[in-house]
């Protein structure tokens, strides 16, 4: 298998995640999309690490990505809960009191 194959998979994951972030009408879906994006980047790290020969820096970075993803998921879900209890909705479009109109 070549490196490119892994990179293509990572790119597809990334794109799916971004599309979720941009299009879904629920904050939980948005968070799921973010998880996909993070996974894609972690996969890129590991793949490059493997194909650049030697060392485990890429794997370590992926490990940290997982840590960040865990923190992000915990906080994100807490925010969603809070948002729901204060607005009664988890649609991203309902949260724009800083916006213009």
């Amino acid at each position: 298998m070549s490196l490119v194959a892994y990179l293509v998979v990572a790119a597809l994951l990334m794109v799916a995640g971004l599309a979720m972030v941009a299009s879904r009408r629920s904050l939980i879906h948005v968070l799921i999309g973010l998880e996909l994006v993070l996974n894609a980047s972690a996969l890129n790290f590991v793949a490059f690490d493997r194909y650049s020969g030697g060392g485990q820096e890429g794997q370590l970075a992926a490990l940290f990505v997982i840590v960040v993803a865990a923190a992000e998921a915990a906080l994100g879900l807490a925010i969603v809960l809070h948002a729901y209890s204060s607005k009664g909705s988890i649609r991203p479009d309902d949260f724009r009191s800083l916006g213009d109109s």
């Binding site: 298998m1 490196l3 490119v4 485990q56 370590l60 960040v68 879900l77 969603v80 729901y84």
Partner: protein, 171 residues
Amino acid sequence: MTGEVLAFSLFSAMAVGGAGLALFHRSAIHSAFALLASFLGVAGLYLNLGADFLAVTQVLLYAGGILVLYLFGLMLVPPEGEAPRPGRRALALVLAAAPVAIFLIAFLARSSWGDPSRLPEPEGTVRGIGLALLTPDGWLVPFEYASILLLAALVGAVHLARRSAPKDDSP
């Protein structure tokens, strides 16, 4: 077709298919389980790449921890069950697919990149990662930072979620 190619095909199909399902399915619960499939596929890809420790961590943390967190979240927030806005999703897909296409073109143009013939034999990584994480001139400091980050996230999440329950808490 060697075993490696077979495994890659299987796991990448799982990962990408799960992601696609999560993207397109209207139910949040289904999306979450599709995400589980995607996570497991990525874990398999990690195995394929010789990162055994990472694969196990992926399964444990993502599939075991984070996904459960999502399920709890979904249970606490009533599902609104709505589909993505069609126009917007089309736009998002076009905008997202175009860079991928471009990257694919670029990758294919340089197909010799990352020559698989010179790959070292995969070996166990647990010992190496453990040493790297716990030696002072290795990754010890980032490791400690990560633990602080997790602690802060934990406290923050508890605080946010707790304040939401009683409405008459401090303004």
